[in-house]
């Protein structure tokens, strides 16, 4: 059954990719063991799924019968596992029942002239329940509507409305909401529209109005292309995005006028109006709200960067981090790694979705934090505007007097003592987890992402790798470069120096890490910085073991963008591929001749 999905933005690639992911999360998970994925050569134990097939099929049938959440599946799996004995290592983990990464979304016919800018799509769902589940985690989705009727005007939409007889059967109260994309409706127009819906929709006759907590919400969706079809890209360029709507419209009018009228003749108002109206698409939909986004209560209330005590220059915003976590199909129990963890913004979102997390960063200072004591978020409110204005908004304590005053203001809230040791005290990534009450990472380690310090048989360890590698613009990419160190001179006091790591190399390592560390069927989600002019699909990083699922552009500046890439691991690398890669990696780090020499030495031994 197709429902109309209304998105917040005209962020087409992102919106659809995210919906596809949340839908496949909602569709439940098949619990079972995947086919043996050639994990030979990665050690003796613990290198991923190797299930007993009988357990696998039992689990699978169980999962198919249980039309329930992953928790039930996990529970069932753990019971089965316990009964069959864990030595078999029949690993119950969750794989998608449907490979639904390609969403069958369709732009409503009337909106096809809008092309990529259309903010609404018809998407087939199996049931209302499924639609509601898919909407639950999606960040870019606004509302899902069961459309009763549509048309070029509100009258047409209402007159063509034919609600399913059962649609309102068990409901007693209703409310009408107007969701407009681009259309500028005055208060009077809105009221008229609502009145007309109430008057002319037969199905609503037996229901009474309730503005708060009604049984059913009737939605009027109006899409007006006038202010929307500004750009050929998915997202409006920054400058236009932040323009007031009126200014944008004026700009658009001027553009249309200059395009059609040529350079030297100014169009008459009549001509201008014609051109204005010609490409304009305006379309109305009336229907019942099936599901609404819960991003405000779920994410925006909990995770905004502005409420965090520990952030850095380029901390990922909560919304995007949640989108990434959705695209990585994170669910309770998932084990997720971020090799460029920074202030752990992405891991916060993963943790919000129930995942267990691990992070690496080459800069230990960012992980260990400053050691300075910052006030808890509650303290923000108790500070005066003046104090906020002079930079004390975060409660940074400069003197004993300040500290005392703050302690008074905070009342019972414990002030942390700088002198004692331990992560409780340092302002570090941990503090954000503690403030939000989310599960802290399993581990944060200082390590070089080009040489992650995992044991040799770590293949298949993670259920997702979600990361935002440094772009080399605001954050430098660093690696440890192989060279000789004068031990005599420095002794134990030598501190490691790092050198620049080009974006290409970063991604080469990231993709190979994913090919090694992910389980088969798991996803790698990462941002790739690109020059928009130079970018083509052929310049995209690729790996033999990974398949690209999504590629979404997020425009940062007119010439510079980042692209969100989502890969799925299809198979383990073969021994030959893996050793070739390691050899290549070492050869690049230390010089081909040296590596060859070492190899020969080893062989002769």
């Amino acid at each position: 059954m197709s429902y109309l999905v209304v998105f917040h933005h005209t962020h087409r690639d992102f919106s659809l990719a995210e919906l596809a992911s949340t839908l496949s999360l909602a569709r439940g998970f098949l619990v079972g063991s995947t086919p043996d994925s050639g994990s030979a050569g990665c050690g003796s134990a613990g290198c991923g799924p190797r299930g007993g097939s009988s357990t696998g099929s039992q689990l699978r049938s169980l999962a198919n019968n249980v039309s329930s959440t992953h928790y039930d599946c996990l529970d069932a799996a753990s019971r089965l596992l316990a009964s069959s004995g864990p030595q078999k290592r029949g690993v119950p983990y969750l794989v998608d029942r449907h490979a639904a990464h390609q969403l069958k979304a369709r732009v409503p016919d009337a909106l096809t002239p809008m092309g990529a800018a259309a903010p609404v799509y018809y998407v087939p769902f199996q049931s209302e329940q499924e639609a509601a589940q898919a909407a639950q985690r999606a960040m870019l989705l606004n509302t899902i509507v069961d459309v009763w009727g549509s048309g070029a005007s509100v009258d047409e939409a209402i007159n063509s409305a034919t609600p399913h007889p059962d649609a309102l059967k068990s409901h007693k109260t209703f409310r009408v909401d107007i969701i407009s994309h681009g259309a500028q409706l005055s208060r009077k127009e809105r009221m008229d529209t609502i009145e007309r819906v109430v008057r002319d929709t037969r199905a609503l006759d037996n229901l009474t109005v309730a503005l708060s907590a009604p049984d059913v919400v009737v939605a009027v969706v109006v899409v007006d292309s006038l202010t929307m079809d500004l750009s050929k890209t998915n997202i409006l360029p920054k400058e236009e995005k932040y323009m007031p709507k009126r200014a944008r419209r004026r700009l658009e009018r001027m553009r249309i006028a200059s395009e059609s009228a040529g350079d030297d003749s100014t169009p008459t108002p009549q001509e201008q109006r014609q051109h204005e109206e010609a490409p304009r698409v305006i379309h109305w939909f009336v229907g019942k709200v099936v599901a609404e986004s819960r991003r405000n209560e779920q994410v925006n209330a909990v995770l905004p960067v502005s409420k965090r005590r520990y952030i850095a220059n380029t901390s990922m915003n909560a919304e995007m981090a949640c989108i990434m976590s959705n695209l990585g199909l994170v669910k309770p129990g998932s084990f997720v790694c971020d090799p460029y963890v920074g202030t752990a913004s992405i891991l916060l979102s993963v943790s919000l979705h129930g995942g267990h997390t691990m992070g690496f960063d080459i800069d230990g200072r960012v992980l260990r934090g400053s050691g300075k004591v910052w006030a808890p978020p509650e303290a923000y409110d108790s500070l005066s505007d003046k104090e906020r204005a002079c930079g004390k908004a975060k409660g940074y304590q400069e003197s004993a007097a300040d500290r005392e005053r703050l302690a008074r203001q905070l009342g019972e809230l414990p002030l942390l003592d700088e002198s004692s040791s331990g992560m409780k005290l340092a302002v570090s990534p941990w503090i954000n987890f503690r403030d939000t009450g989310l599960r802290p990472p399993v581990g944060l380690c200082q390590g070089d992402a080009t040489r992650l310090p995992f044991r040799g048989n770590a293949r298949g360890l993670f259920d997702a790798i979600i990361t935002d590698p440094p772009y080399g613009v605001r954050e430098r990419s660093r690696k440890v470069e192989a060279k000789d160190v004068d031990r005599q001179k420095y002794g134990d006091n030598h501190s490691v120096s790092t050198s620049r790591c080009e974006v290409d190399e970063v991604f080469e390592h990231l993709l190979w890490n994913a090919a090694h560390l992910l389980r088969v069927g798991a996803r790698l989600v990462c941002f790739l910085p690109v020059q928009r002019e130079d970018y083509t699909p052929s310049t995209r990083p690729a790996n033999v073991c990974l398949e690209l699922l999504h590629d979404c552009e997020d425009v940062l500046q007119s010439k510079f963008a980042r692209r969100l890439l989502v890969y799925v691991k299809r198979r383990d690398p073969t021994d030959e591929e893996w050793t070739t890669w390691l050899h290549y990696r070492d050869a690049r780090a230390r010089g081909a001749a040296i590596v060859q020499q070492e190899k020969e030495q080893q062989q002769s031994r």
Binding site: A45, G46, G48, P49, Y71, L74, D75, A77, S78, L81, A82, S84, G85, P86, Q87, R89, V91, P92, Y93, P332, G333, F335, H356, M358, I362, G364, R368, G369, S421, G422, M423, K424, S428, W430, P440, V442, G443, L444, C445, Q446, G447, D448, R451, P453, F454, R455, G456, N457, A458, L461, V480, E481, A482, K483, D484, V485, H494, V496, A589, R590
Partner: protein, 123 residues
Amino acid sequence: MKLLTHNMLASTVRGVSQGYPLGIAPGAVTEVHACDFSKEFLVHVFPKLEWSAFVSACASLSLPTMPAEVTPASWEDESFLRQMHHNLLEVHVQEGTLICPESGRQFPVSKGIPNMLLNEDEI
């Protein structure tokens, strides 16, 4: 650093073949941070563990001993699960040193963050 993290880390110094498991030097400072108990997660993570390395890590931190072998009956044993949860997820090594079993290279742990970065001549 939780023991779950320790269970996954290895020394990747040049010339070292396994570099696993990393020894925990005596005198490590540990703290206990409570963490929600979840049997599901233990079941989920168990296949990814190197059990023997976990057992020896518990011993070197003088934590309550874990059995050398996990049997199906263990999964019904609440006290075993609680103990495993405590040792694996609640005990943090705050200050200490990890030692590569082959090369003897020491990796410092400070403020709970192990520094696994290699020197330039160890790559």
